[in-house]
Symmetry: C2
Subunit: 327 residues, 2 copies
């Protein structure tokens, strides 16, 4: 229990479902000048003619499971890596980030977030951070879905199961639909992933008229192409975005937190459907991004979650892009 | 000239003094939904009962000098380090960050920024980002100055040389004042630093009635203590902030960009008054922060510029703190 962990105390409180302490016990009242509000959780940059915005949907400190978080490494080894990355060591600090790309012809969301008030406390911040970013749900023309884990598709619909993006098409990987829409596959899925079947049925029920499927390597929208990166789930896809001479990758969950799964790309995550296949996909995708020196954004990297990939020591290193006030 | 550099094109344009391209040439008009605005440049967190806000004052890509930026290493070696850090290789991307600490008894600014419209294009964003953070210049009760380089003290006063923080005391290191207020020292200062004498005279002229000096290791305000870290300038100070069981360091310019001067703490920066003394101060300060596992903020680290320090490979590694929506 180190100081860094103590400093993450507010987050831990939230993950544990306790009330978020807005001020420490016994805190002096802040001066009138200093509100207790955080900056809005979005970050914007250009890729060629496209405007990209990454939006923070919150985070949890997943303390269960840490034992077993990496299924092919000892918990002690995982803790050592977390310690060496100045991260909390008693759980996985897991941020959620939805990336939006304005192509000039439409506004594309990559995944849909956890849904306001639908998952763990500390998540579901997408609507308020979208508003801060000037992104309106009704202006989203397409949701490109990477895979059907709950933290990526629950936000497709509200608590009442109404579409959150009222005018958007929803494009999903054909292989992902094939797996999770067929309950015959439930017994062949890891225990941990079985709730995805019910959630898939629920979330897509009101979206069927506007849903379409795409194959790996297909162009999902002008300038946006799917890349098959299976393993995390049977049909998991990442995306390649190109505008002019610039390119950009949305890696989704091809790797979880980079301090773990990029530095140790051979590690199998408890969240991976098939760890060995996930490792193959991960190495292929991130080797390509590193070789191209392209910018990328991921769903669970530290916010704002966008930067570059370097090959280093048999693995990869994520280098966050410098923050700038200039879009 | 690599892709990562091209992606920093907007910044380069600004540093070169050209008009900031708000959209790429030939860009499609963004949809009505997506404004071209960046998120406000501030980040807030607690240290014990204190509320800390780091505020972005802008940045420049300093292309002159890169040759000679590190006075005891070859430019090729410096370029290799920049390349390995996925940074532009033709200049130093230099952010400016002012840290504010609300102690409940006062609002303390650590340095004053570059001043709106007073230094290079791309800088001077402090007033607008303070406003976004709910920090009013009139509520600042104390400016604790680390040293007298132009990018730290120019913002003490406006273009018209009126105090920017109208109600603040200004506390300065006694050794810093002694050096830069005495023009007899000009001939004994590096050529590059001689403009500091005139700027010191100008900026402090209207502030003398509210100025006080502090010695190294003195308590500058309740919970805030100066740490002598000379070398970058003769009287350069860093600060230790303590509240309850938590502590926090404001390192100011004890190290420039961490990819260069923490990974290679023995390097002498062109901006250092005395490189060898600066190296001693840097090693002492960052060894302490690493050993204490304390949180820190620096003036020229990648925004939001706050995180932790690890000892690694004979140098140090900066680990940015995870961004959270919870203050």
């Amino acid at each position: 229990m180190d100081r860094r962990f103590l400093l993450a105390g507010a987050a831990a409180g939230i993950a544990a479902g306790t009330a978020a302490a807005q001020t420490a016990p016994g805190a002096a009242a802040p001066t009138a000048a200093v509100p207790n509000a955080q900056a809005p959780g979005f970050y914007r940059f250009k890729v060629g003619d496209f405007t990209v915005t990454t939006v923070h949907d919150g985070f949890v400190l997943r303390t269960n499971p840490l034992e077993g978080l990496v299924t092919n490494a000892d918990a002690a080894e995982v803790q050592a890596v977390l310690e060496g990355a100045a991260l909390p060591t008693r759980g996985l600090m897991n941020p959620y980030i939805v990336t939006f790309v304005d192509t000039g012809r439409g506004l594309v969301a990559f995944d849909a977030g956890t849904g306001a008030g639908q998952m763990a406390p500390g998540t579901g911040l997408l609507p308020r951070n979208m508003a801060a970013a000037g992104l309106r749900p009704e202006d989203v023309t397409l949701v490109a879905v990477s895979h059907f884990h709950g933290d990526h598709i629950t936000g497709l619909t509200t608590r009442e199961n109404q579409p959150f993006f009222p005018n958007a098409e929803v494009a999903v990987p054909a292989a992902e639909w094939a797996w999770w829409s067929d309950t015959a596959n439930e017994a062949r899925s890891p225990q941990f992933q079985r709730p995805n079947f019910a959630n898939t049925a629920r979330r897509f029920a009101p979206l069927r008229p506007r849903m379409r499927m795409f194959e790996a390597e297909a162009e999902v929208a002008p300038g946006i192409r799917a890349i098959a990166t299976p393993g995390h789930t049977p049909g998991h896809c990442s995306f390649h975005i190109a505008s002019g001479r610039e390119q950009f990758f949305v890696t989704a969950d091809a790797a979880g937190r980079p301090e773990l799964f990029l530095r140790q790309p051979g590690w199998h995550s408890i969240f991976d459907f098939d760890g060995a296949i996930a490792v193959e996909s991960r190495r292929r995708l991130f080797s390509r991004i590193a070789a191209e020196r392209a910018r990328m954004a991921a769903y669970h990297f530290p916010f704002p979650g966008t930067g570059y990939i370097l090959e280093e020591g048999g693995g990869f290193r994520f280098v966050p892009a410098d923050w700038t006030s200039i879009v």
